[in-house]
């Protein structure tokens, strides 16, 4: 594609996480720390490598989701300019499909139906799906397994975001907070965003299904752009 240099600052690229394996990943943080921004980064990273992404936005409208992409792309272009930015913008649009759902309108059956609509009619063949705003509070192990096998059967890499809450201190043995503390074995990768004084810290607490405790799995991000901070 020739856009690879653009994504070198993507936090996940630095950690060499966004592999080609069709497994599920999870980003967790408290409200307002940048889960959506990071998901959009993951999506853009895939797109810039020529892959197609379905972005599922639950409880957020289409217009706002589009804005996220416009904003993140603008940041990337500021960091690293390209000769024909409109071609890049066009490319991103062609490799991205946004589906927004009202909370009550989203479920596994609907997800399967929509993805099949796209794939069987040859409208859009995604490689990766990011799901923002999924409600994990009412999700049990069996149901998530079911979604996992759906995504595996469609050969799709899937990233979720989940909100943790200050007042809920339940944690899995590997350090995954509620509401996902009993679901962590289903995720290949779990990333935690934490707020430090002037930056956001990205911690990988699970990778290739292994628990990570090493400091090399920590990164400092600029909260305004969710890019890796230059100084560090």
């Amino acid at each position: 594609m020739g856009y690879e240099p653009l994504v070198k600052k993507n936090p996940l690229r630095v950690l060499n996480l966004a592999g080609n394996d069709k497994k599920m990943g999870l980003i967790m943080a408290r409200a307002g720390l940048g889960k959506t921004a990071l998901l959009v980064q993951i999506a853009l990273d895939s797109i810039l490598r020529g892959k197609r992404v379905v972005h599922i936005s639950i409880g957020e409208n289409l217009e706002k989701t589009k804005l996220w992409y416009d904003d993140m792309l603008e940041i990337i272009l500021q960091e690293c300019s390209v000769a024909k930015p409109h071609e890049l913008i066009d490319m991103v649009q062609r490799h991205r499909m946004i589906m927004s759902f009202k909370e009550s309108a989203f479920n596994r059956a609907r997800l399967e139906e929509r993805l099949n609509d796209l794939i069987l009619q040859d409208i859009f063949k995604p490689d990766c799906v990011v799901i923002d705003g999924f409600d994990f509070t009412n999700m049990d192990h069996e149901n998530l397994e079911d979604i996992n096998s759906l995504m595996e059967s469609l050969r799709l890499q899937t990233w979720f975001s989940a909100t943790s809450h200050r007042e809920d201190d339940r944690v899995s043995p590997s350090g995954v907070p509620a509401p996902c503390h009993e679901l962590d074995d289903l995720f290949e990768t779990v990333v935690l965003l934490k707020s430090e004084q002037e930056h956001v810290q990205l911690e990988i607490i699970r990778h290739n299904s292994d628990v990570c405790s090493d400091d090399s799995y920590h990164l400092i991000l600029d909260p305004a752009t969710m890019m890796v901070k230059k100084d560090d």
């Binding site: 589906m99 927004s100 929509r114 609509d117 009619q121």
Partner: protein
Amino acid sequence: MNKDLDKVRNIGISAHIDSGKTTLTERILYYTQRIHAIHEVRGKDGVGATMDSMELEKERGITIQSAATYCSWKDIDVNIIDTPGHVDFTVEVERALRVLDGAVLILCSVGGVQSQSITVDRQMTRYNVPRIAFINKCDRTGANPERVVGQLRDKLNLNAVMIQLPIGLESELEGMVDLVTMKAIYFDGDQGDDIRYDEIPDNLKDDAEEKREELLDAVSMFSEELMEAMLEEEEIPVELIQAAIRKGTLDLELAPVMIGSAYKNKGVQPLLDAVEMYLPCPTDVENTALDLDNDEEENKVSNNPDDPLVALAFKLEDGRYGQLTYVRTYQGTLKKGETIYNTRTGKKVKVGRLVRMHSNEMEEIEEAGSGDIVGLFGVDCASGDTFCDSKINWSMSSMHVPAPVISLAITPIDNKAQDNMSKALNRFSKEDPTFKTFVDHETSETIISGMGELHLEVYIERMKREYKAEVEVGAPRVAYREAITQHADFNYTHKKQTGGSGQFGRVGGYMEPLEEEEYEFVDQIVGGVIPREYIPSCDKGFQASMEKGMLIGAPITGVRCLINDGSYHAVDSSDMAFQQAAKGAFKEGYKKAGPVIMEPIMKVAVEGPSEFQGAIMGSLNQRRGMIVGTSEEGSYTVVEADMPLSEMFGYSTTLRSLTQGKAEFTMEFSTYKQVPKSVSEELVKEYEESRKNG
């Protein structure tokens, strides 16, 4: 007319087609005693609603032109601009919005926020128009005002808050609870003329209390006094709540929601009260004009009737007594018999007749103060012109006018039709800046162009009905363009020696693609290799070449032509010779500059039941569309896509049969994009064949 501007409201009524806008306007006119009987849009009595003054509108049951009408409610004067609901007439909506101070957004309680409401609302946001929402048709089966409020929040991002609660719904709609005064309102009498205020029915009391709390929570942020009163749990004065709602509405941070059924005569009078209470008067809104004598510096208009006049012509109509021009005054006073000055043309005109419009009927007046909307007769001008008195030279900021994207060839059937057609075309293009007409010199056909199929269809109908001009209509054509994709040099010598004085000129330089702008000419000639007087000739030659591209004869856009070399002959060089040389140079460069064909891309939103989402996406995909995304809300879904206009002909029929008539779509011009190679080859082939044949 009131001199006191606090008592003036210039409002628009805009909405989705079929949400009952015209019926509501009709009721307003009835209750304000402007008309004495109520007619329906598709009236059985053959009279039709008063605002739909054009025959065609009556027949189709849609409102095409935004007629302005005046009425008075209690002690306020209201000018109502009725705006069309179909997206092809967006310019009319936009022009109406330009002169409005506030608006009522009408929604159907069953259909809710549909894609057209989204387009209209986006335009209102663009022009900073404060609005109140009226959820109409609450008597219909399936009415669900709460769902519509949810959509106002989700889809339009409005801070929508109900200020009324329905008493009964569907066929049982009896009236409503006013959550500000906490009174029930009923509408007695055959036409709902007698308003009866009563206690809230027992079964609704709890619900009303709860909703009132929600209302107070939402509006308390606009008034500290109100917030304090709430904290101290005092009895809250009604005026305080009203003031807070007004402040929130004017700041565009709140959209009060009212409910009713215009058809069943319920809720119209309270809506008029709300127009008075919550929508702005002319002095609440800041409008600016550009000072043409001072480098287009922005000036705030004063609204002061004693200042020099500034008035905007926003709408033209051909009436029985000649051209009727709707104007809005922003400052100063427009007086009968005075001379005013058109700042675009520099012409002076005398104000002959000044009228206040009530749809088809009119009332002669002597003067119109600032903030007013009136009609002028016998003033020659175009829509969008500004009038001043001779003291100042201001222009109201230019209006956003999109370029036409579709065209049709029309041929009059006989000589009489020919005459009438040119009269009609002249009128339409003056009235509507998005409607263009010209004669194709090669085919001698008259071409009309506009914003969509329906837009042009309506004008063809109007030609037939109002001007008795029957025309044959060709197939619709998309307004393609040509553009270049890369830098290319040129160096061309034009030389002709045919006895007598010859022609000589050489032009050298390059062309390159230009984003944003249509054309730019750069002169870098040094040392007089092309004499100064022939530089404009080169510019002219290039511009002439841009009119017709070499691929399919479409206009070329986005080119920078730079000249930096050339030569001339003392005797044989001339204006004409350099124009020819530039044309030759352009042709030479164009071939090397990677020319491509560009086509209009439309932003399309298809809305229908969720079960058809797959089918809808499939149909868009087949038509070379790029699906941007979908939004699903319960049982229905909206698919947004960027579609080439050329693929959208006949889409409404396809969509109807795909979805059992349950889905609909709107379309709006978005941008021009390069056509894919296969399509481009097809177009070039077609063009070449048509040239061979004719």
